[in-house]
Amino acid sequence: EDQIYIPLISKGFQHQFWQAVKTGADQAAAEFGVRITFEGPDNETVVDRQIDMLAAALANKPQAIGFAALDSQAAIPLLRQASEAGIPIVAFDSGVDSDIPVSTTTTNNRAAASLAADKMAKLIGGKGNVAVVAHDQTSRTGIDRRDGFIERIQSNYPSINVVTIQYGAGDQLKSTELTKAILTANPDLAGIFGTNEGSANGVVNGVREMNRRGLVVIGYDSGKAQKDAIRNGLMAGAITQNPVGIGYETVKAAVFAVKGKTLPLTIDTGFYYYDATNIDDPEIAAVLYD
């Protein structure tokens, strides 16, 4: 069988975001008639496990590889080995600090989080205390979203104060508990930003369990719970990337690379802010997942 084989090594697997990326990748695979596999570690800290995955993927002599680096430096020797063997690498989600990838399909997390900050500022009237419930303290996406939000607040909205940042590992229950603690400690809190699906749902859950009204919650990514929360007003709005698009574009770029076509260095799949008003718009609905 001469079917093109493209393994995708992602940053995660069981999370909805990565499953949405997988969906997009599967669509592209069906469309271009290639075979893909999709794998990712349990959490975004286990850098070495991801490299073992990459090594195993290389053993199968793939025609191209899609790779979302947990740490872009750590994987460079293996990536170099791959590119020397003539296997093109397509980076996705976040880039690899090197010229090895033939193309990078990504969302600008930092810019997306800044947009969340702008929306937050607007909704709370430009002043007050806000908190961040982040999903990870050390991973690229965790840092970018946290910093993108905080830096925008600090630089543009001097009367807004980020009182606390806590990390719930994207675990809904943990994020629920820590949201409740934040609410207890800050009775005057005006808004909370949850930096991924699990965090955002945890925040909504915590707010609901504490029966707090009038609090502005801004989330990230989509998923059924988050969409419901936006529809029924518990969540003001959320940032969404285009995970399906990321997966699709990655596989597409890989196929093109195998066929020797030239590719743009970065493919920005974009991000959007959605709330109750535009959630059903076709172009938004297209990038949301359940």
Binding site: H15, Q19, E209
Partner: protein, 336 residues
Amino acid sequence: MTASVKPEYHKTLFFRLLGIGIHQKLLAFASLIILLIIFSVTSPNFMQTSNMIAILQAASVNGVLAIAVTLVIITGGIDLSVGTLMTFCAVIAGVVLTYWGMPLPLGILAALLAGALCGLCSGTFVAKMHIPPFIATLGMMLILKGLSLVISGTRPIYFNDTPGFDQIARGSVIGELIPSLPIPNGVLILFIVAITASYILNRTILGRYAFAIGSNEEAVRLSGVNTARWKMTIYALAGSICGIAGILIASRLNSAQPALGLGYELEAIAAVVIGGTSLSGGRGTIVGTLIGALIIATLTNGLRVLAVAQEWQTIVTGAIIILAVYADMLRRKNTA
């Protein structure tokens, strides 16, 4: 030279059911009380009814899991699969209720049955195949983690179509009777599970054999007891308690999150040991475990309310776990 904590039998019904020696056990609250006092002093927002309820609720899932582990630890075993088993049961409930659209009681029953069945598997590995409990349940932990993803299709299952499902943990029967005390049902369930488990441990043949097996399994076998069968029963019971935890967490999140659960086992075991149960088996109490779970929940909540930086929260939690167990050892040495 450590004294043993033994089920003793006391006068008042409550303490009889919880199986505690008042005098000895009141001392075990010490660490908890100290924590409460420290946090009350350092943060004005800590001592509010709503926050106390938040702590209780935070302790509920871990508490139920810890009770399950306590049963297994008393027989001299350990159960690392409680976290993923909880998730697995939640997913099963999701499949039955949401995918198949069955009525609520059937979903709950399915979760409990699934838990009991998986527990029975672990129990069989341990009792019949003589695989060390650590490995048998580590293997189960991985198997169940994978199965949850397979069965759910790596997607959360929502319970929106099952009205009342989220009220199982979130609603408050007590709050309806006494509006000033809106203790959520999840907490109530924790206490009901605790009292039932305590009753089983201290008042039934199953409990008696659990202690005896943990104390000297060979002697029990030579007394003509089918130790394998009783051990399997205990693991199955622990499994069905994980099923309750699965319902609780699913109800709180109004969804079954198939990827959750890893890491919950260590927190549960920590609660058990802080509560004075010996990891070598034969000794332990459910009240102790409850206190252990409350200590962990209070600590976590308090540090968050104080807005201690996350990395320092971890450090302090680690230190306090060591200290709490150390204090418990000293206490028991002195009251021995």
